[in-house]
Symmetry: C2
Subunit: 231 residues, 2 copies
Amino acid sequence: MLLQSDLPLNPSSDDIVGSLRRAILAHRVAPGSKLVEDEVSDVFGVGRSIARTALQALAHEGLVTIIRNRGAFVADPGVREAREVFEARALLEPRTARSAAERATPAAVKLLHKHIAAEHQALQAGDLGKAVYLSGLYHMAIADLADQATIAAMISTLVARSSLIVALYWRRPQALCESHAHHALTDAIAAGDGARAEDLMKGHLVDLLANLDLREKPQVGGSLRDILRQA
Amino acid sequence: MLLQSDLPLNPSSDDIVGSLRRAILAHRVAPGSKLVEDEVSDVFGVGRSIARTALQALAHEGLVTIIRNRGAFVADPGVREAREVFEARALLEPRTARSAAERATPAAVKLLHKHIAAEHQALQAGDLGKAVYLSGLYHMAIADLADQATIAAMISTLVARSSLIVALYWRRPQALCESHAHHALTDAIAAGDGARAEDLMKGHLVDLLANLDLREKPQVGGSLRDILRQA
DNA sequence: TTTTGTAAAATTGTAGACAATCTTGGATTA
DNA sequence: TAATCCAAGATTGTCTACAATTTTACAAAA
């Protein structure tokens, strides 16, 4: 399952949530993958109760789907959900970017540049999954700047779900089309130009959505049974 | 703890979540109350694991706060959080009301009227807690109309948290000031007037916030120990 | 009286056992 | 061959026991 094990010896369920979340968001586990409780507990060296708690927490975030008596799976959002997530982001993130611009400090801007650099580096290294993950961190950093913890938390889960969506529906795996948008946005924030930041964020989200291939996907590997079970 | 026991004999954790949620939102348990796992499991006739799962789910909704080794408490939002919740609602609900108006059917409008009637009846009966709960259901019904499950889910948790906030900060316990706003909003939706619905919702939220007394509350019953622990 | 210290009680955290359910693989039958 | 059935295995659901921690109650000291 490939986990970077920067974990304490007796990890809490939160530690496990974090580790699994990174793995899912960086596309190191595919959407739809089964997450067996015994495996999780073995990998992290805890009892099954803790693993269970972690999986339930991820389910509340929308990154994992739990089906009774069948277990936990990495979430596998459909096109409907993909559109909905970006619809929600469109309501929250532009205004949040404006607030961020209005209260950004030089230190904060520096942090944003660091995020962009890390993302760029991951792309150079060919690690697309990590780049997507880091791109999400950039959006979350902006949300944090706005100093509205409640909204930031909602954006955080939406961004996370977007990583899954990108894994499934991104059109051109090699295009590094985002770099530019993040740079421009950071400039607006550095300049304290709230109105421009709001506009850029709005446009950026539209671009992201436009780069998804949201035609109905034809139930690729599923048996008739699995297909019917989804209804 | 006063639970309306319309529950199955072997309730699932979801059943328990629903029952506890209603109790919290209708102000039948005060913010800050301890929710002891053994009590919950006894009341519902299940093992402690199921009670635990239910409490954790409520914690993810923001209705319960879990402190490690100390247990679960009904959430007790501060003024900061109160403002943040309404800030978030202001971003989501006006646009959602517009969508609702644009796609409302006569049957949906009828449902909204039913909600209003029920809320009115609870107020007449002097059950303010229930009225607040039903008022929340009205907002959630509108969110459902917009046919955006992701946004509706976010609104749902925000509205729920608002019930707690109203319990703590509402200025005039006897004023039935909301009735009018909900009527006008329903009219706009019935007329399919999206722009008006959006405006009315925006104004309604501003009014709600204005009716809260958000001066810093002076740590009413807390010992020095509890105060310091919050940091 | 007020504070401090200590032991008992209460409560939560975690693991593991058992039951319930689902999945798998092979044998049986058409 | 293909479909069906059934038993064995695997996995999840729930409960309970025990460990870790906190809270309470009460006695001792200032």
